[in-house]
């Protein structure tokens, strides 16, 4: 059964799914549209909600980046070993999405003065709150290991890795005071299939 992932030619909301495919060593068709292209306009109407990412699998088109990623993680046993572990993983992913939702307006602000102001507030006040929450959950659920849940790699770790990559583009020092989180990132990067993927992936935003 083949997988097709439709998205733009960026990391954005599809990259977590691409990381999951990589960690699982699973092939997939990595379809990338250039934004504002004729090709995208042509395909937009084929997508259930007129949006991407969309996963095509077994004749089904699935929208919504989180739903896609969770489906793939479950397919490849990267979601947590039972319902309760999966809930722990989900709670970390939800907390990460809360963080990204707070970051997006900062990143998208065009006015330079306003952007500096928003960034300062985000990095001084908002981000530390979320990082503290993530360390709390990691320490609660990790069973003493370096991964967020149950002492093995899950999509919680991949989502954290991906979102911090994004935030690092604005401030590469933001994890300096969070040794547990830094160590978690290091563990993810060390995984051979992930390391290989990171080395070879297209250089895009």
């Amino acid at each position: 059964m083949s997988y097709k992932l439709h998205y733009f030619n960026v990391r954005g909301y599809a990259e977590v799914s691409r990381l999951i495919f990589a960690a699982a060593g699973q092939n997939f068709e990595d379809i990338r549209y250039e934004r504002n292209s004729e090709e995208w306009t042509k395909h937009k109407n084929e997508m259930p909600l007129g949006q991407v990412p969309v996963l095509e699998y077994d004749g089904m088109k699935l929208p919504q980046s989180k739903a896609i990623a969770r489906f793939l993680a479950n397919q490849f046993h990267l979601a947590g070993k039972d319902n309760f572990e999966q809930a722990k993983v989900d709670s970390i992913v939800d907390t990460l999405y809360d963080l990204v939702a707070a970051f997006i307006p900062v990143r998208m602000e065009q006015d330079e003065t306003k952007q500096k102001e928003l960034a300062k507030k985000f990095f001084d006040e908002e981000l530390p709150k979320h990082l503290k929450n993530l360390e709390t959950l990691g320490k609660m659920y990790s069973n003493g290991g370096s991964f967020f849940v149950g002492n093995q790699l899950t999509w919680a770790d991949l989502t954290f890795y991906n979102f911090t990559d994004l935030i690092f583009q604005s401030n590469s020092d933001c994890l300096n005071n969070y040794s547990w989180l830094q160590n978690n990132r290091a563990e993810v990067e060390k995984q051979p299939k992930i390391a290989e993927y990171l080395k070879n992936r297209p250089k895009t935003m």
């Binding site: 259930p48 077994d58 969770r70 309760f84 989900d90």
Partner: protein, 205 residues
Amino acid sequence: MPTYKLYYFYGRGRAEIARLIFAAAGETYEDIRYEREEWPSHKSEMPLGQMPVLEVDGVKIPQSMTIARFLSKQFKLAGKDNLEQAKVDAVVDTSIDLAVKYVPLLMQQDESKKKEEIAKFFTDELPKHMKNFETLGKLYGDGSQFFVGNHLTFADLEVYDMLSYVVKIDDKFLQSYPWLERNRQEVEKNSKIAEYIKNRKETPF
């Protein structure tokens, strides 16, 4: 049999979806509700200093959608396999997309501004979300009135809960969306849900 405790405020808000799932499943739980004044003394007991939180055999899980998904999987209201669960998740994520835009308008303190903003939202923004729901319901519902696969799932309950906030403002709004109207009626026909709604106390939110 695990014991469940649900912690929240005296209101529907972000906990109601979990309560609807417990009700639909006919499962018991301790429905703990804190008054606003007593919440500060309990805040540090919650992993992220927020509610809702679900405690399962003494272990706490934060994040409202994670809680709801966990419970729906426990009680077989999540979709019968990974593919169905992914479709359910896509519908739920689409409901969250609406919540993120709509709920802040409901929290506006200035009454006349609130009325104006909501009216504008109903005209300019809400139809798009309704159309998205109907698209997914028709795509995944297997010709039934349920969102996914011909039976009640977390998707139906989440959209039911979300659209309660629409119907409350304009009880005729769904008439323009017959599929959604029938889906809502289908949920209300469920005897356990009907019983729960009948006995549910009116709360400020």
